[in-house]
């Protein structure tokens, strides 16, 4: 029996802004609340029918445990609507969509608000173990002498913070930083520094063009910038209109400083942003005579080596296409997340390689040609940034909007996931 399709009725996102910048003082829940409130306002009558809100978030802010619930409440949903947070690293925004999809398919609900929100600006610095021990010892010390003794044990090194965002971006199993996993792929697939820089330049160009043409304005909700509200941010700020190959060339490798090729210029940046979608069963959308942006036909997640996590798209896409008995030729448009240029280019090779398919995917034939002209036509995370929890929602939204504009029917949104996973979603308009 064919699985039920899910209607993606509408979606909206905040501008994506470089971490430590414009949205520095806005928490993930406030970014999420803004987009949820906009969706609720656009579909006023529907809000009462929402069964649950599911949001993806990676950093799990300490001030808002179960951040999805906070988003639901601040976003103006009824207090009776439950909400929970999902976490699948970089695919958390997609996970929100697919979790709701599974629930709709299982008959647990009809209407969901899903999405992702991330404020990488607000990932805290933490006390290191030595400092923590010092505090504990201090609390234990009762007498003046023992307190004094504890005080004297203090060393300046105790003050060196643990940078949570760095910890989070380091694979706990293989010990590699995400950037280093891109270096692994660069070596394995022989993706040169120059190829990476050229790809990155193209990403900025495409994103700049799309912005200039007003394409993103279609999906962005301008955000009055707290806490001072001195201005309203209405576009992504990571795109470099003036980016040049010379400038990219000048950058030093960031992760492997001596022999590496991955720079901050050919990798996605730390970013703040949120995106949200209103989804429901296809029948429900029909019943309400809605005209959805499109439909989620099906999805797949796949696992692979953590140190080669960047190849997640090829693994998950293979799985998805096989189960749907489709091929890459059937796909009109693709969003493949640009975590690193090296990683995207490695995927291009792996998608198109029979050898790779045989060796790793247990299939005779290659997955198919990953046509650069169909992929990330409006740029990707290298230009727009990658607010980890939110990206998945943005990709689906951006893809559907572009399919609508070009009147294309079939789209693929796929993404690599830290920890060694891939996600792939097949979207349709008709």
């Amino acid at each position: 029996m064919a699985k039920k399709r899910i209607a993606i009725v509408d979606g909206v996102r905040t501008p994506f802004c470089r971490a430590g910048g414009i949205f520095n003082r806005i928490s993930a829940d406030d970014l999420g609340a803004a987009v949820v409130k906009e969706l609720c306002s656009r579909h006023e009558g529907l809000v009462d029918q929402v069964d649950e809100l599911i949001f993806g978030n990676v950093a799990q802010p300490a001030n808002a445990a179960n951040v999805a619930r906070v988003i639901a409440l601040k976003g103006g949903l009824s207090k009776r609507v439950p909400a929970y947070t999902v976490h699948r690293n970089c695919a958390s925004g997609m996970e929100a969509i697919t979790t709701a999809t599974s629930k709709i398919r299982a008959g647990e609900g009809d209407v969901y608000i899903v999405g992702g929100a991330e404020s990488m600006s607000n990932i805290p610095l933490m006390f290191n173990q030595k400092m923590t021990d010092f505090f504990i010892q201090l609390m234990k010390s009762k007498s003046l002498m023992s307190k004094l003794k504890t005080f004297l044990s203090f060393r300046p090194s105790f003050l060196k913070p643990v940078i949570a965002v760095q910890e989070g971006l380091t694979d706990p199993f293989c010990g590699l930083n995400m950037g280093m996993t891109a270096e692994v792929l660069s070596r394995e697939f022989h993706v040169t520094r120059e190829q990476q820089d050229v790809f990155s330049l193209e990403s900025h160009k495409r994103a700049a063009q799309a912005t200039a043409a007003g394409l993103f304005a279609d999906e962005i909700l301008p955000v009055p910038v707290a806490p001072a509200y001195d201005f309203v941010q209405s576009s992504d700020d990571g795109i470099r209109k003036e980016q040049s190959i010379e400038a990219l060339k000048k950058l030093k490798p960031y992760f492997d400083r001596i022999t590496g090729s991955v720079t901050v210029g050919n990798a996605c940046g730390l970013t703040d942003g949120a995106g949200s979608l209103l989804i429901m069963s296809e029948e429900k959308a029909k019943e309400l005579s809605l005209n959805p942006l499109g439909y989620l036909k099906d999805f797949a997640y796949a696992g692979l080596d953590p140190e080669r996590m960047g190849l997640g798209p090829v693994y998950s896409t293979a799985k998805l296409l096989n189960s749907l008995e489709m091929s890459m030729d059937d796909i009109d448009l693709i969003e493949l997340n640009e975590a690193f240029a090296a990683q995207v280019l490695a995927n291009e090779i792996a998608f198109d390689s029979d050898d790779f398919a045989k060796k790793y995917l247990n299939q005779e034939k290659k997955v198919g040609f990953l046509d650069p002209d169909k992929m990330n036509v409006n740029g990707g995370a290298i230009a727009l940034g990658h607010p980890v929890g939110a990206t998945g929602a943005r990709m689906v939204l951006t893809l559907l909007k572009e399919m609508q504009r070009k009147n294309l029917n079939t789209g693929l949104a796929t993404l690599c996931i830290g920890g060694g996973q891939g996600a792939a979603l097949l979207l349709e308009r008709e």
Partner: protein
């Protein structure tokens, strides 16, 4: 003395009309206060006499070990003395006697040989607190309705039942003075911190906790913990020492003077009273207190303040429906400018969601900014926490189109003051909202009727005029048109009360009430300026009169562009009577001189102190040189008369045209809308006090000198003929 019959069945059960007393076999005596046919308990003369009888009776019963005093009302302990009775006191000696009688009753309560406990749930205010202070112990529930304080100074008198003597001695001089002088009510927790009450309990557990508290006293004869807690700390003790006391009183006086400029005698008298009685014996102190109370109760200012209190109570009943009214939860605002932003702020502050629509995101951003500015001030003054502000700011959203309007309960239009644009926008709006949605216009001077013609459905349309700054101005003029349905009027009135403002029903006329009365006053200030009056002096004279600021500073605050627009609309509507001064037009052509918002108006608003704006002064010189006006010396008296009498004339005309339902409401509106000094009792009450005849005479004189601006209204003529007054 009034006859009171106490029904004493067996010496242990007393039944009066206000009180019931039960003395249990165990020795626990309970006095229950239950004013008949009222929601709250008031210490009227009758109630006091009955209370006295009960206390006297209880004092004769040897079995009594503890006396507790409670209220039978759901959420009121004692609301205070009966203000109506205070109002009726017509002689100083009578008032002094009344206070002394009350003091004596409470003194007999205080003298009882066994412990007494006041059990406070709900308001415990004025005389109510003075009664509680005469008890040995006070405990209170933390219910939101439990409010404790001495508001007498706010009514132009001092507490007269021993409050000025007992409170500072109980909680320390500094705190006692502050509470009496600021006449603020505090909640139970604050009262506990101030040590006015000995214990505070969760209201949900109040009965059992109160029983426990009483049980301890019952067993041990006292509550050691409570008594120990009352001991003053060193700083408090020190501040009461002979050496520092004078400084405390001096500082208190300084604070009062800074706030009121000495216009109100009550707080100053209260300071003197407490200062003079600090080292006296209790009976001497009480005598002095009743004397001061008697004296103040007969001042015009106290009479005015009490009258205003009653008007305010009366105003609360205006436009109240007997039936259930739909609650307004969701609001949309058209226009995110100063007013739109302010209204959005108000709504978010009251926990309701609000959506601002404007033409650009930059404009919407300005709306957010103005909300944030107000909240920032709230954080600074610790009235809200950052996290609370964050939640409130999240209630505000912005939009360029009409998404989110379908389910709005009310849409307030606050766009540019242009009738054609307003009509067009209202027309655009109508298809996007639900059938029951109220549409309100926040116009300050345009015709509501004219706007309503743009709508298919004018019965849902109403004027809702907020004042700037919305966060601080308590008044909202509500302007129904003929077609406006009663339900819409009722829910608008309720809604405005729900968001903490005072609505007043006003007839649809250009400028409505407050602006219509105020514009002649501001115009006149500019005429005076043209004729050579000193700008700062004009403002100073009005501040001395009691206005919160002079007309020029006011104009700067309102915005010269906004003021000009209103002045022009009124000139067009009322003709010569409200002719717009030429210099105001000249000023309008000066670029960037828009008042405080551009830091340039009549004054230059840079730095803390206001300085005259040289640009404006230059323009004035030019104007005077080129016009035919003869520059002359203008006396203080003329300045005050011309400003105030013009305002009075227009106010009388508003009564004549029934712009408000009662002259009293006009006075209240001017007080809330312009800060017309409360001690003067209101515009019309002030007119009464000058004598309408005198006003008429002066207006005639001014008319022949200055023209139609001072045309005496018909109503004034006929009232003078019939020797009538407004009050």
């Amino acid at each position: 003395m009034t006859e009171i019959t106490l029904n004493i069945t067996d010496g242990r059960h007393l039944e009066g009309s206000y009180f019931r007393c039960i003395i249990e076999e165990t020795g626990l005596a309970t006095i229950l206060f239950d004013t008949p046919n009222e929601k709250v308990n008031k210490l009227s003369e009758k109630a006091l006499i009955e209370f006295h009888q009960i206390v006297s009776h209880v004092s004769t019963r040897n079995e009594v070990k503890v006396l507790i005093i409670k209220s039978k009302k759901a959420s009121n302990f004692i609301a205070g003395a009966d203000i109506e009775e205070i109002n009726l006191l017509s002689r100083e000696s009578e008032a002094t006697e009344k206070a002394a009688a009350g003091q004596a009753i409470f003194q007999s309560l205080s003298n009882l040989p066994f412990p007494t406990v006041a059990i406070i749930h709900g308001a415990c205010v004025g005389g109510g607190l003075e009664l509680a202070l005469a008890c040995d112990y006070r405990i209170a529930s933390d219910h939101s309705k439990t409010k404790i304080g001495l508001p007498e100074v706010g009514l132009g008198v001092v507490p007269g039942f021993g409050g000025t003597q007992r409170l500072p001695r109980l909680i320390g001089l500094v705190n006692g003075l502050t509470l009496i002088l600021t006449y603020k009510l505090v909640d139970a927790k604050k009262a506990y911190k101030l040590k006015i009450i000995d214990a505070v309990y969760a209201h949900e557990f109040f009965n059992e906790k109160a029983d426990e508290f009483v049980a301890e006293i019952f067993e041990k004869g006292k509550s050691k913990k409570a008594l120990k807690r009352r001991k003053l700390n060193t700083i408090n003790k020190l501040s009461q020492s002979f050496l520092l006391r004078w400084y405390v009183f001096k500082n208190a006086r300084k604070g009062v003077m800074a706030k009121t400029k000495g216009a109100y005698p009550a707080p100053l008298e209260a300071i003197e009273l407490i200062k003079n009685t600090w080292s006296l014996k209790p009976e001497e102190g009480f005598a002095e207190e009743s004397r001061v109370f008697g004296k103040l109760s007969q001042t015009a200012i106290s009479k005015n303040l009490i009258k205003l209190y009653f008007i305010n109570e009366d105003l609360k009943k205006e436009g109240v429906s007997t039936e259930e009214v739909e609650e307004i939860r969701k609001m949309c605002v058209l226009g995110a400018g100063v007013m739109g932003g302010g209204i959005a702020w108000l709504f978010s502050h009251k926990g309701r969601s609000v959506r601002m629509k404007d033409l650009s995101w930059d404009a919407i951003g300005m709306g957010f900014k103005s909300c944030q500015k107000i909240y920032k001030d709230f954080i600074k003054r610790r009235r809200l926490k950052k996290s609370e502000v964050n939640i409130k700011m999240n209630l505000i959203s912005g939009t360029l189109d009409f998404t989110g309007f379908k389910e709005a309960d009310v849409v307030v239009e606050a766009i540019v003051e242009n009738i054609e644009i307003k009509k067009k926008v209202l027309q655009e709006l109508e298809p996007h909202i639900g059938e029951d949605c109220i549409i309100a216009t926040n116009t300050s001077a345009l015709s509501v009727k004219e706007m309503s013609t743009a709508l298919k459905n004018p019965e849902r349309f109403i004027g809702m005029h907020f004042f700037n700054p919305v966060s601080r101005m308590p008044l909202v003029e509500v302007i129904p048109v003929e077609e406006t349905s009663d339900e819409v009027i009722f829910s608008t009135m309720k809604f405005i009360r729900d968001i903490g403002k005072t609505p007043i029903l006003v007839k649809d006329c250009p400028g409505f009430l407050v602006n219509r009365v105020l514009i002649p006053y501001v115009n006149e200030a500019v005429f005076l300026l043209e004729e050579g009056a000193n700008l700062e002096l004009v403002d100073e004279i009005m501040v001395d009169f009691g206005m919160p600021m002079g007309p020029f500073e006011l104009a700067d605050n309102v915005g010269l562009d906004v003021g000009y627009k209103v002045a022009k609309i009124l000139e067009e509507s009322y003709g010569e009577r409200m002719v717009c001064p030429k210099f105001l037009e000249n000023l309008h052509n000066l670029e960037g001189v828009l008042g405080k918002k551009t830091k340039k108006g009549f004054y230059s608003h840079k730095g803390k102190k206001l300085k005259l704006n040289k640009e404006v002064m230059g323009a004035l010189k030019n104007f005077q040189n080129t016009s035919e006006i003869t520059i002359q010396e203008i006396t203080h008296e003329e300045i005050e008369t011309r400003l105030i009498y013009g305002l009075i004339a227009e106010a009388i005309r508003c009564v004549e045209e029934k712009v408000v339902s009662k002259p009293e409401f006009l006075d209240m509106a001017m007080l809330m809308g312009t800060g017309f000094p409360p001690f003067k009792g209101g515009v019309l009450r002030y007119a009464d006090s000058i004598g309408l005849k005198n006003i008429l005479y002066k207006l005639k004189e001014l008319k022949s000198a200055k023209g139609k601006r001072f045309d005496p209204p018909e109503l004034l003529l006929s009232m003078v003929n019939r020797s009538e007054t407004f009050y």
